[in-house]
């Protein structure tokens, strides 16, 4: 049985062949899912799929698109919002 902290679903099992000929299980962490639009739920492009400690080390411009509501709304939802505001 694996150790206690490896029993959760954040780990995926990878079967590795050793040079001695045995197959052995390695527990590796999963990548997080892609960010979703706050309005429509579509996947947002431009946000990398990294764990929080890896995101901290990135520059600000590499974490989100350089646009109003970038990383929060998708492009189509932004257009709808701007059109609504301009017509009111």
């Amino acid at each position: 049985m694996p150790a206690g902290n490896k029993k959760s679903n954040t780990f995926r099992k990878v079967f590795v062949k050793t040079p001695g000929g045995k197959t052995v299980v390695h527990h590796r962490t999963r990548k997080p899912k892609q960010h979703k639009c706050a309005d429509c739920g579509a996947e947002i492009i431009g946000v990398p799929r990294l764990r929080p400690y890896e995101m901290h080390n990135l520059a600000k411009t590499k974490k989100r698109p350089q646009r109003a509501y970038g990383g929060k709304l998708c492009g189509a939802c932004l257009k709808k919002k701007i059109v609504l505001e301009s017509r009111s």
């Binding site: 350089q66 646009r67 492009g75 932004l78 257009k79 701007i82 059109v83």
Partner: protein, 139 residues
């Protein structure tokens, strides 16, 4: 729809949400814009026209558009692009580091002269000053 002087809002790109004026028509689908956005060609699908039409001649300069926008109480931020700063020169640091290590080298050399000159003793002692220079460069 998109005649010269028409006020528009930009829908896409990093200028999204900013107001601009049509300055010239290039194609059926592309148009020259200027205003709060950059002065560039733009696809008509990425623009939302507004009610107002300004009285502007073709290919107006940016300074005249700033005056027109002031009447409408729209502010334009004029920012100049940053000039790339020159790369820091590393040659001076190397020379300073070598001067410091030469003092240490002279001390090291005396010990090697006393010992038997063999290739094995020279290599590890030659490696020491190289690592020091790298550390001093990082500092």
């Amino acid at each position: 729809m998109f005649e010269i002087g028409r006020l528009c809002v930009k829908l896409a790109g990093r200028d999204a949400g900013k107001k601009c004026v049509v300055v010239d028509t290039v194609d059926e689908f592309t148009v020259l814009i200027d205003g709060q956005t950059r002065r560039r060609n733009c696809n008509v699908k990425h623009l939302e026209p507004l009610k107002e039409v300004l009285k502007i001649k073709k290919n107006v300069s940016h300074a005249d558009i700033v005056k027109e926008f002031k009447k409408l109480k729209l502010e334009i931020r004029d920012t100049k692009p940053k000039k790339a700063s020159p790369r820091p020169k590393k040659s001076k640091q190397k020379k300073d580091a070598l001067e410091e290590t030469n003092v240490k080298k002279s001390v090291v050399k005396k010990t090697t002269e006393i010992q038997v000159e063999s290739k094995q003793t020279k290599k590890p002692k030659a490696a020491k000053p190289v690592t020091k220079t790298k550390k001093e460069q990082k500092e």
